[in-house]
Each structure stands twice: as structure tokens, then as C-alpha cells.
């Protein structure tokens, strides 16, 4: 009850600055919250602290060198980003990767989706107050996959393993065996986290009906990936606009019903299971053979043309708009960032909620600042 005396007190809205160096902003993201008491009445996001000009840099190196900027842009789903870049170049160059390379790419991209979602779950659970346990569980599981990437590419983060036309070298002899083991392990790991969080009452209370966004709004803002599917729209580029060899696999597209933070979490959990399914099918079907086309040129010169290539990355639609005017370098390379578009809806999602929920809502967007700022 508000007493008469309290009602007469004069109150003012104050600005609370969060970030760019803040543990809850998942990188160098900054937002200025205007709060009235505990309620957020306005939010102004500030981005660009990690803008390194990846697009401009890509214009100044040739097509093989430009690949590494993809790793540095989307540093939690590097294989997915590399795949998008390679496919854009291949479309213009008229290259077709051999079957085996296609399967290797799919397996790695889907495993990368799992590691990226593990990262999300660990960080997101910390945001909601499940401090430590979920994070260490998720990172323990993530590490099993990370070790495969490490053994394959020699790097834990900046893989640079795909090439326009295929992949750089073949997978080691024990690759299939290790991936098969990790698939089983991931199922166990997801179930562990499932039991820890999904039915946890405190976790549900923190997430249910928080940061709701309606389906028309989600489309209007250009949301994609789990953010869009949580609103109930079963749109997945792997199914609706199939690229590479995704039309050969059976998998479901999980969707939510409320479009709230909890649905985004559930959609990502289910996506991990579906990724395991895809990897297992791909392992079964993977043929032997070459990993690069026989007549792949050493120096790639693209004919003039323009293409917009898009892939379904863990965070949504990742796109490369590539303009070539002939020669060895891109004339213009635009990276369509899923996170940037997902972040545009931040204000709509946060305003009206408590300050503590703002952190949870931001966590549910699953931003990677390298991709937002490029």
C-alpha cells in the first residue's frame, strides 16, 4: 500500500548506465536504462565499441584471405559464418564443393551450433541467477566438441578451415568415431541441463512472460533465428530456403508459443537435439572422396556479379552480400548480422519490465558483439 505521505513525495526518473564493461552485457555492449523506481521506462542501446571494419578489410584482401574475417566477426559460430562466406564466393565463381566436403561442412556447422547454444545456456543461466552450476555444466559439454575442432583445425577459436570450393584438409582418421561419441555425450549433456533448468521453478519465474514480442512485431523488426521461432513462426533457412545439402536430412523446427524469454530458451535447447540428429545422419551418409574440386584455381578470380547468400546460424540469418566487379578481391562485402537485427527490438522488449529483467532479456537475445559491430 502506498501511503498518502509517500504519494506526495516527488520522484524523478534516473538514468542507469550498463556497460560497455559490464558482466551482464556479454561483451562491449552498452545500454542506458531510464528507470522510474525499479521499472524501465526507456532504453538507449549503444553499439560500435568493437567495430573493426571487417567489411572494409574484406574489400582489401583476396577471396581466400577474406575468410579469416568471418571467424573474427562471428566468433562463437565460426564454421557457420565461414560456410556463408564460402557459399557466396562459390555462387559467383561457379564452384561446387565435392560431396565429402559438403558433409564435413554440415557436421562442423551443426556441432558449432551446439557449442554456440551451450555458450548461450551457460551465460543466460548466470543472467537469471543460476550462478555457476549451469555455466560449468554447459562448458564441460562444450569442451568435448571444442576438442574435436581443436584437433581438426589446430585452433580453438579462429578455425579458418573452410575454403571456397571445399575444406582445406581432410578430417583425421578417428573423426567419425569421435563425433559419434560426442553426439551421445551431447544428448546426455542436454538432458543434464534440462533437468537443472527447464523445470526449475525459480528459473521459470524469471523467464516466463518476460520480454514478450508478438509475431508481427518480430517480423517488422527483422528478427530471425530462435528469436523469431520463439514467436511461433517455423521459419528456418535450412528448411525454407535450403542451401548446401540440408534437404537430405530429417529434422524438426522447434517453435515457441508466447515469444517470451522462456520460449527462446526452450527453442534453443530443442535445436541442439535436432543438430545432434543432423550430425548423426550426416555421419552415416558421409562418402569418401576429394575435399576440393579437381579444377579449383589457386588464385580465385570472380566474374562480375552480385549475390546475397544466407545461412541459418545459431543466432539467426547470417548473410553475405557480395559484389564482384571482376578480379581477385570483393568490390563490396556486406555482412548481414543476425544479432544486429535482433537487437533492434531490444527497446520494445525491455520497456515496462524491472531492471533485473532487462539483463535477462538482453541475455535471451544471445548477442555476439563481434557480429553486431563487425
Amino acid at each position: 500500500m502506498v501511503t498518502e505521505q509517500e504519494r506526495k513525495l516527488e520522484t524523478i526518473d534516473i538514468n542507469v548506465n550498463v556497460g560497455p564493461q559490464h558482466p551482464a552485457t556479454h561483451g562491449v555492449f552498452r545500454m542506458v536504462l531510464t528507470v522510474s523506481g525499479e521499472r524501465v521506462v526507456d532504453v538507449v542501446p549503444h553499439i560500435g565499441y568493437m567495430h573493426r571494419g571487417a567489411e572494409k578489410l574484406s574489400e582489401n584482401v583476396d577471396y581466400r584471405q577474406g575468410l579469416i574475417y568471418q571467424d573474427r566477426t562471428e566468433y562463437l559460430a565460426q564454421f557457420n559464418a565461414e560456410m556463408c562466406y564460402c557459399m557466396a564466393v562459390e555462387r559467383l565463381a561457379g564452384l561446387e564443393p565435392p560431396e565429402r566436403a559438403q558433409y564435413i561442412r554440415i557436421i562442423l556447422s551443426e556441432l558449432n551450433r551446439i557449442t554456440s547454444h551451450y555458450m548461450f545456456i551457460g551465460a543466460f543461466a548466470t543472467d537469471t541467477g543460476v550462478y555457476g552450476t549451469a555455466f560449468t555444466y554447459a562448458f564441460r559439454e562444450r569442451e568435448y566438441i571444442q576438442e574435436i575442432f581443436d584437433a581438426l583445425t589446430g585452433d580453438r577459436m579462429m578455425y579458418g578451415y573452410f575454403r571456397p570450393g571445399g575444406v582445406v584438409w581432410d578430417v583425421p582418421a578417428d573423426f567419425k568415431e569421435r563425433v559419434r561419441w560426442v553426439c551421445g555425450q551431447t544428448r546426455v549433456g542436454i538432458d543434464d541441463i534440462d533437468r537443472l533448468l527447464t523445470t526449475n521453478e525459480i528459473f521459470i519465474t524469471r523467464c516466463r512472460d518476460i520480454g514478450v514480442i508478438s509475431r508481427p512485431d518480430a517480423i517488422d523488426y527483422g528478427l530471425s533465428g530462435p528469436m523469431l521461432r520463439a514467436c511461433g513462426l517455423p521459419f528456418d533457412l535450412r528448411r525454407n530456403d535450403p542451401y548446401s545439402i540440408y534437404d537430405r536430412f530429417e529434422f524438426d523446427i522447434p517453435t515457441g508459443t508466447h515469444g517470451d524469454v522462456y520460449d527462446r530458451y526452450l527453442v534453443r535447447m530443442e535445436e541442439m537435439r535436432q543438430s545432434v540428429r543432423i550430425v548423426e545422419q550426416a555421419l552415416e551418409q558421409m562418402p569418401d572422396g576429394p575435399i576440393m574440386p579437381e579444377k579449383a584455381p589457386r588464385r580465385l578470380r570472380l566474374p562480375p556479379g552480385e549475390v546475397y547468400m544466407r545461412t541459418e546460424n545459431p543466432r539467426g540469418e547470417y548473410g553475405i552480400y557480395l559484389v564482384s566487379k571482376g578480379g581477385e578481391k570483393p568490390y563490396r562485402l556486406k555482412i548481414r548480422s543476425a544479432c544486429l537485427s535482433n537487437l533492434t527490438a531490444l527497446k520494445q522488449m525491455i520497456v515496462g519490465h524491472y531492471v533485473a529483467d532487462a539483463v535477462v532479456i538482453l541475455g535471451s537475445v544471445d548477442i555476439v558483439l563481434g557480429e553486431v559491430d563487425r
Binding site: I47, G48, H51, G53, E55, K56, L57, E59, N60, R91, L92, D217, I219, D220, Y221, G222, L223, L233, F235, N240, D241, P303, P304, G305, E306, V307, Y308, M309, R310, E317, G319, Y321, V323, S324, K325, G326, G327, K329, Y331, R332, K334, R336, L340, S341, L343, T344, A345, D373, R374
Partner: protein, 207 residues
């Protein structure tokens, strides 16, 4: 510095097959001139900049087109051929997509803002504006997005703003500063001793 692209060439215009989305646009907007070409994935339509807002509104609202999803908005600097703004659209209901393009002259890069059509266009236009110096007329909040707020005279993705070679950059920018390495401010000579003699400017070595 060598030219980054020897002899830029334009892609030949290959008209799309009949029955593509280009025909739907012509049907919905018979008075507007479309230059259609078939890209490697999508059909590309070039329109005049004065028609941009009308075409985008129709693209979103016409039930035959129903392009509700603005995937991507970007700028391209074609040097003397002008600046280009590209809209990448998609329809969830029909499953079709299109690339819409419009050219703006270099000396007057103005185009109507799409922020009133799609909420998501807001940030994408802010980024394109700061990177290319394109003015989106009617934009609700035309401030830089990624770049510093006071960086309004510098458009990094324009072609007249080359990314210099590292050596060249060091030579021209650090040249003067590099010459100051070992420079001893007046009054500190006794502390610096004999080793503090400034070296001559190294104009061409640079690094």
C-alpha cells in the same frame, strides 16, 4: 599504391525468366519502371529513387507480393556510377524473395527512409548513412550507429576512402611521429644524456 581493382566491370544484365517475382511487381505497380535482372540466387530489380517509398510500401502490403521481412539493407559505392542502396526482401507466406536496388548520384545521395515501413530499417539505415554518407530523408533518429557521434565527415566504406597499405600509412602518418622517437624536450637534456639525440626523419622506411 596499386589500384585495388584493375578495370572494374559491371555484370551483364540477364533478364529473368517470365513468371518470376519481377512480373508480380510490374502487375502491382504498372506505372513504375523496373529494370529486372536474374542474379545467381534472387531476381534483382532496379528502380528510380523517387519511387523507392511507394515500391517498398507496395512490396510489403500487396497480398501477391507480401514481402514482410526486410532481410538486409546496404549501400554500395559504385564510384562515378553513383551510390547504390540495396534492399533484400523476403515473404514468409509465398517463400519468394527479391533484391531491390536504387542508384543515387554521388553529389546528392538522398533517398526516402524505409523506417516508416519496417521498424527494423531504422538501425540498418543509420549504419548505411554513416558508412556512405547517404541521407535517408524522414529517418526518425539520424545519428551514427557504429561510428562515434562526431564522426560525421568521414564515410569509411566509400571508395574514395581507401584502406591504405600498412607501410604507406605508417610512412605518412607515423613518419613525423617516428621522427620524434628519441626526441628530448627542452630542459631535459641533462637527464637524457648523450643517447637522447633525435634521429633524422625516416620518410620512406616507415616501419
Amino acid at each position: 599504391m596499386t589500384a585495388p581493382h584493375e578495370g572494374p566491370q559491371e555484370a551483364p544484365i540477364v533478364p529473368p525468366e517470365p513468371g518470376t517475382i519481377a512480373d508480380l511487381f510490374r502487375e502491382a505497380l504498372p506505372d513504375i519502371e523496373f529494370v529486372a535482372s536474374q542474379g545467381p540466387v534472387d531476381v534483382m530489380l532496379t528502380i528510380d529513387r523517387k519511387d523507392v517509398l511507394q515500391v517498398l510500401r507496395t512490396a510489403k502490403d500487396d497480398p501477391q507480393l507480401d514481402l514482410k521481412y526486410l532481410r538486409c539493407l546496404l549501400g554500395v559505392d559504385h564510384e562515378e556510377a553513383g551510390l547504390e542502396v540495396v534492399y533484400q526482401l523476403y515473404s514468409f507466406t509465398h517463400g519468394h524473395g527479391v533484391t531491390l536496388k536504387t542508384r543515387l548520384p554521388q553529389d546528392d545521395p538522398r533517398v526516402a527512409s524505409a523506417a516508416s515501413v519496417w521498424k527494423g530499417a531504422d538501425w540498418l539505415e543509420r549504419e548505411t548513412a554513416e558508412m556512405f554518407g547517404i541521407v535517408f530523408e524522414g529517418h526518425p533518429n539520424p545519428v551514427p550507429l557504429l561510428l562515434p557521434d562526431d564522426m560525421t565527415d568521414h564515410h569509411p566504406l566509400r571508395k574514395d576512402n581507401p584502406l591504405a597499405q600498412v607501410e604507406e600509412w605508417q610512412g605518412s602518418r607515423l613518419g613525423a611521429a617516428a621522427a620524434n622517437v628519441g626526441h628530448v624536450p627542452a630542459g631535459y637534456e641533462s637527464i637524457a644524456g648523450e643517447g637522447g639525440e633525435p634521429e633524422g626523419p625516416s620518410g620512406e622506411s616507415g616501419g
